[in-house]
């Protein structure tokens, strides 16, 4: 029931966007790793008003069994939006849109994973959109790949992702909700650094071939930056856990935490000296 808030211009006379960003500027991004204790790995991302949680369970036994792959683990991605994450209440049942996005996210992440190490098992990636304000599939990929790393799933690389769009003929990085709705197109993409091969590529709207290539170029460059932010978030989560901090944590029946401690030993020893 929010009023129709279509802005007159998505880009003002100074060349700035509705939220004051430059065309090639990301919204503020905050990523946190290890935010959900029940999961084997987890991460959250806030990108502007978009807020998403991702959790990874596995590798674990796969049900139903008919999905079993004999040569690798099955990567099951479930992208869901909370009913209250959008202006009108979303119906609780999974929509076709959610199913499609789950699939493209799985395809974006899979090439980064050594799934062949876990034949017949499943790696579950659950993504919950808490607040949707544009760019949720890209933000989901950023968070999910951090959650996979947090779960200790062997990976070639983290998978950064951003969307590029267009409004009034200008290419824009990281579309907000209004730009997505009223702009002239949207190109979400994800890459595998450092070769920057593309694992997610979708598009809607109207673009010439030149525009498309330029937009993809712009996205790939932004992904490199996003990749740095991801690595930073991952380091933050592990470097800060020194033995003194751990003592305060409630260490009852939390097996993940034991794993974390082991991976951390080298670094915390260094800092002690």
């Amino acid at each position: 029931m929010s009023p129709d808030d279509k802005p007159d211009n998505l880009i003002n006379a100074e060349g700035l966007r509705v939220d004051g960003r430059r065309p090639d500027e990301l919204r503020p991004v905050e990523m946190k790793v290890g935010v959900l204790k029940q999961a084997d790995g987890s991460a959250s991302i806030r990108q502007g008003n978009t807020y998403i949680l991702a959790a990874v369970y596995g590798p674990r036994e796969l049900h139903p069994r008919h999905l079993t792959l004999n040569d690798r683990a099955y990567l099951r991605v479930v992208y869901r939006m909370a009913t209250f994450s959008v202006p009108d209440r979303k119906r609780p049942a999974p929509s076709r849109r959610e199913r499609e996005i789950s699939m493209v996210i799985a395809n974006a992440l899979e090439p980064a994973l050594f799934l062949e190490e876990f034949p017949r098992a499943v790696v579950d990636v659950f993504i919950q959109v808490i607040q949707a304000d544009g760019g949720t599939r890209c933000a989901s990929i950023n968070a999910a790949s951090l959650a996979l790393a947090d779960a200790g799933i062997p990976m070639r690389t983290l998978v950064p992702s951003v969307a590029v769009g267009k409004a009034q003929g200008t290419l824009l990085l990281d579309l907000g909700d209004a730009e997505d709705k009223y702009g002239e197109g949207d190109i979400p993409l994800a890459t595998l650094p450092p070769q920057d091969d593309i694992t997610l590529l979708q598009q809607d709207g109207h673009f010439t071939k030149e525009e498309l290539l330029e937009a993809i170029e712009m996205g790939v460059t932004a992904c490199k930056y996003m990749h740095e932010l991801q690595k930073e978030a991952l380091k933050q989560a592990y470097a800060k856990r020194r033995p003194a901090d751990d003592a305060e944590v409630d260490d009852e029946d939390d097996d993940d935490y034991e794993d974390d401690l082991e991976t951390d030993l080298g670094e915390s020893d260094l800092e002690e000296e």
Binding site: M1, P3, L36, Q38, A82, F84, D88, Q131, D253
Partner: protein, 276 residues
């Protein structure tokens, strides 16, 4: 990796918990009548939901979001708005939760929390009427479980109440048969608050706010919604078929009554400090 994917618990754990209780202790060191630390985060979905809250009860985390829409009233209550609570045991929250349509336990959670809100007449639904018989406000409070370490009912009940208290929505009016926003923001007409308090019966013992391990070994649980006037507005015996003697129900009620005031106060205080 904390895998409880089969809902089983070893005899060792079972005996360990039982032995502790015999000595007056619990797995996490709490007293029988104590809640875990409660944390309330207000308006995490400020940009899209009319009201929202995250509640952390020890290792259990839930988020509740409120949407206020305009819809048609039920024909038997043409001048009353609609309040509805739903809950989802999202698989993100626990290795125990599976994908797929809601099962019995998710439906029970939603219905029990819904009953607490509805039976206590938390919201004055008569004030949610825009045009009798035609248009009323519909208040949806939806709960998603984020981390499951026992006692989802109480955490969900607290989150729903906190979210309802923070809710601000657009006032609507009828203009030439269309519903338009007046530009004014309204608070929900909250006139009462009932929070659910759940105890586990484990053998001869009654413990409030069970953790997951205690839920595994419980004979059953008893959930009691207690409102501002210290009246019971809803009960639910569930979480197992173990029978409960009258004396234990009496004891459970006393424990719940002893805690209910401070929990309601904690929620109101959090909301008051959040709106300053």
């Amino acid at each position: 990796m904390g895998d409880y994917s089969a809902e089983t618990i070893s005899h060792i754990d079972r005996d360990y918990i039982a032995d502790l209780l015999k000595r007056g202790e619990r797995v996490d060191g709490r007293k029988f009548d104590m809640y875990r630390p409660l944390e309330i985060e207000l308006n995490p979905v400020a940009a899209k939901a009319e009201g929202s809250a995250i509640v952390r009860l020890g290792g259990t985390t839930v988020i509740a979001g409120v949407k206020v829409l305009v819809g048609e009233p039920y024909s038997d209550n043409p001048n009353e708005g609609v309040v509805m609570v739903t809950a989802e045991l999202a698989p993100i929250a626990s290795p125990l939760f599976e994908l797929g349509p809601p099962r019995e336990n998710a439906i029970e959670l939603a219905r029990v929390v819904d009953r607490g809100v509805r039976e206590s007449e938390t919201i004055d639904v008569k004030q949610l009427c825009i045009e009798e018989g035609k248009r009323v406000y519909m208040v949806f409070a939806d709960v998603y479980t984020l981390e499951y370490d026992g006692n989802l009912i109480d955490a969900s009940s607290m989150a729903v109440n906190a979210a309802l208290l923070t809710t601000e929505y657009d006032e609507m009016k009828v203009e030439d048969k269309d519903v338009v926003a007046t530009g004014k923001k309204l608070k929900l007409p909250v006139q009462n608050m009932a929070i659910e308090h759940t105890v586990s019966k484990i053998g001869d013992h009654i413990v409030i706010d069970p953790v997951l391990k205690e839920e595994f070994v419980q004979d059953c649980r008893l959930t009691m919604a207690i409102d501002d006037s210290e009246k019971f507005t809803a009960l639910q015996k569930g979480g197992g078929s173990g029978p409960m003697p009258m004396s234990q129900i009496d004891e459970a009620m006393d424990i719940a009554l002893a805690r209910s005031k401070e929990i309601r106060k904690a929620i109101r205080d959090a909301v008051a400090s959040g709106s300053e």
